[in-house]
């Protein structure tokens, strides 16, 4: 095993070991680049975020960091803006995720019907999904504009006289935002569910037909159970993106009127970019991260049992 020989035997020097590595070394070598990249772009920023959350780091004060321990976290608990934003975010999740699932299911069933031409339906499904979130927000903000919006125009033609100021009333603004999110995200749901629908063997329906099952029974007894894995995947994705809701409320109301439609992501953006309070902004972001972890954990635990 000595490396001091003049003509080393193959497989004894470091170089030779690298040229002919064992399974384990090879595994480490092959994984290292990917791991390094991941560490650089995922682990480091998250670590830095958590690190910053323990400091009073305000750029407006010249950018010196002062260690404050858990003080920022204590502030979060007492911060009415945080609870308002967290409440709005949870409400958006609770409203838009189930709504998008139901609408998406309907769209997927529709697209799965044996049309002669399938592409117009598929295209209609894809379009809202392909539209950038901010554009969807701007378009719907225009729809709901109290003077120039199509919504008030239709209502006026139907005989309403006083135009409603949709985006200036907290509850209506919230409803308008949820509607936009459901419109925008249902097609994503539908795409995943459609893929699932096409995996279900036709023979199951034929057998059910022979046994005299109604369409309704077929839907609940065959379609839904067979579709469960797709539904759960779609729900996880949708829930996580719903927790991060930013673009649509930002472009529709900017969180207004007041901060009645502000989400957590918007509060973090405002604190960091507008207020230049990096320390507290990081703390808020860690709180949102924990919230996402909790929700994902909840799903994973329940999928383990169901799927």
């Amino acid at each position: 095993m000595s490396t001091h020989q003049e003509h080393p035997v193959a497989g004894t020097t470091t170089w030779d070991r690298l040229r002919d590595p064992s399974e384990k070394t090879l595994g480490v070598m092959l994984l290292a680049p990917a791991f390094l990249l991941l560490a650089l772009i995922v682990v480091y920023p998250i670590g830095k975020l958590i690190w910053n959350s323990f400091f009073d780091l305000r750029l407006s004060g010249g950018g010196e960091a002062r260690f404050v321990g858990l003080e920022n976290y204590a502030l979060v608990l007492r911060d009415a803006d945080f609870w308002n934003a967290a409440g709005n975010t949870v409400l958006i999740v609770l409203i838009t995720v189930p709504a998008a699932l139901v609408v998406g299911m309907g769209l997927a069933l529709l697209a799965n019907l044996p049309f002669k031409r399938q592409w117009p339906v598929r295209l209609a499904l894809l379009l809202p999904w392909a539209l950038p979130l901010a554009f969807a927000g701007l378009i719907f903000a225009w729809f709901f504009h109290s003077e120039h919006g199509v919504v008030n125009d239709v209502l006026r033609r139907l005989g309403g006289n006083e135009p409603q100021m949709w985006l200036l009333r907290p509850n209506w603004a919230f409803a308008a935002i949820c509607l936009t999110i459901v419109w925008k995200t249902s097609s994503f749901m539908a795409l995943i569910l459609l893929a699932g629908l096409q995996m279900i063997p036709k023979s199951l329906y034929e057998a059910a037909e022979v046994d005299g099952a109604t369409k309704w029974q077929q839907f609940w007894q065959i379609t839904i159970p067979m579709l469960m894995p797709s539904i759960i995947v779609a729900l996880i994705f949708r829930t996580i993106t719903a927790l991060q809701t930013f673009d649509i409320p930002y472009t529709m109301t900017k969180g207004g009127p007041g901060n009645s439609t502000e989400t957590l992501a918007m509060l973090i953006h405002k604190t960091t970019i507008d207020y230049l309070d990096v320390g507290y902004g990081s703390t808020l972001a860690v709180c949102m991260f924990v919230l996402s972890l909790l929700v994902t954990g909840f799903y994973l635990k329940h999928i383990g049992k169901n799927a």
């Binding site: 407006s60 109290s146 907290p170 207004g256 901060n259 230049l276």
Partner: protein, 427 residues
């Protein structure tokens, strides 16, 4: 064989290309390239600024000025610059920034103090209008140099006031009465009496401050500490809401942005409009303006017993603390903030001068006659609070004002919120 030859050719040409690139980088290094950031909004006139850069290039061989445009509004620009400057990006040397930003950016150590290049603040700032001289000196250092001025003006339809025999109103109450009278006589349901900005944009900060200041109250002291007079703030907000109830201001005022006011006034749907100085050119020159030759400008009304005051805006040139060419960048800033540049921008683009003397310059007066009257409005103008946390100050004022105008908060709640949120920030 043939393949090998072509490979050699390819290798050689790659080598030549690399060598060529290297050489061009070398020649490039001998000259200096300055990169200037300014907003893409029409009010910042990138076309005229380019001419000023060209003048500088002609006088300073070897210097090339590159331009980066971005963000049509002050808020968008602030968000972009916060990101760039927070990353200590050295690629941009000079920034054109809103008058509310020098304190914040200097506080964050993003701006190079210019004393070493230009001289003592007291001497350098002497020829400028006082509000610009004070806004750009932070902690006794020159944080930025005034580029051009701006202010909120009260525009009005001269033809309609004449037609109905109404005088220019001097107080807010007179304005509301005059507007109501003309609206009634015209009988046009689309004619708004007064257009102000109520959306949560930077302009809404002025929407809050104008009626507050006009009662003779101060928002902050010289040290930047909040001196909010709550009853006056409530009274100011109530004044707008009363005008909404009278039908003078339209109901969805909380949706109105700067551009909406300009467009609706151009379309002939507005009697009185509060807006920035650039709007004058839009009313006068835009092909789709229906009010050409029918527009007047007057000082902002006062509250009985108070004094009129307008909100001053304007744009400043600043050198980035991360620039690698600070000395030459400071020289360009000096050129851009010179009386000659101010005169050029005034005569060519009717951008308001930052020098008192330019307002009365014969060439300028000939090109833009209304500047003679504009001078007194700008001189009487007040600056929004100078704060290292201006981002937060602005957000609190504009969001709350917009919520009050949308009637989701009462004026009392709004004033209390501004006080409680800003007492911590403005100390």
């Amino acid at each position: 064989m043939k393949r090998r030859q072509s490979m050699i050719t390819a290798a050689l040409s790659t080598l030549a290309l690399v060598a060529g690139l290297g050489a061009s980088t070398l020649t490039h290094a001998q000259s200096t390239t300055l990169r200037v950031f300014s907003g893409s909004g029409g009010s910042q006139r990138p076309d005229l600024m380019r001419k000023l850069y060209d003048q500088f290039q002609a006088k300073n061989p070897g210097v090339t000025v590159e331009v980066e445009l971005g963000g049509a509004t002050s808020e968008l620009q602030r968000q972009y610059l916060s990101t760039v400057l927070n990353a200590k990006d050295p690629s941009i040397d000079i920034y054109l920034i809103d008058i509310v930003n020098p304190a914040q950016y200097y506080g964050a150590r993003w701006l190079e103090p210019l004393d070493a290049y230009l001289g003592k603040p007291a001497d350098v700032m002497k020829p400028y209008l006082p509000v610009y001289a004070t806004s750009n000196v932070i902690d006794g250092k020159i944080a930025a140099m005034p580029g051009f001025a701006d202010a909120m003006f009260m525009y009005y339809r001269k033809d309609l006031l004449d037609k109905h025999g109404v005088k220019e109103p001097a107080t807010w109450d007179e304005l509301a009465a005059a507007a109501a009278k003309v609206q009634k006589a015209e009988g046009n349901p689309n004619l708004q009496g007064l257009s102000i900005q109520g959306a949560p944009i930077e302009g809404a900060v002025c929407t809050f401050l104008l009626p507050y200041w006009s009662q003779g109250k101060e928002f902050n002291d010289a040290g930047g500490k909040l001196t909010l007079d709550k009853p006056a703030a409530v009274k100011g907000l109530k004044q707008w809401l009363a005008m909404v109830d009278q039908g003078v201001i339209k109901k969805n005022v909380a949706e109105v942005k700067t551009g909406d006011t300009v467009n609706e006034f151009k379309a002939g749907q507005v009697l009185f409009a509060i807006n920035w100085g650039f709007a004058w050119d839009r009313f006068k020159d835009d092909p789709d303006s229906t009010v050409k030759g029918k527009v007047g400008v007057m000082p902002l009304p006062t509250t009985a017993g108070g004094r009129g005051a307008t909100c001053v805006g304007g744009w400043q040139w600043a050198v980035s603390a991360f620039s690698r060419n600070k000395a030459i960048a400071a020289k360009l800033v000096q050129h851009l903030s010179s009386p000659e540049a101010s005169k050029f921008l005034a005569a060519e683009g009717s951008l308001l001068p930052t020098y008192q003397s330019v307002y009365t310059d014969p060439d300028v007066v000939k090109a833009v006659p209304w500047f003679k009257n504009a001078a007194e409005v700008v001189v009487a103008g007040r600056s929004r609070p100078q704060s290292k946390d201006y981002g937060q100050v602005s957000d609190v004022i504009r969001t709350t004002t917009s919520a009050v105008l949308a009637r989701t908060k009462t004026p009392e709640e709004g004033a209390a919120e501004i006080e409680s949120r800003l007492t911590r920030v403005m100390r």
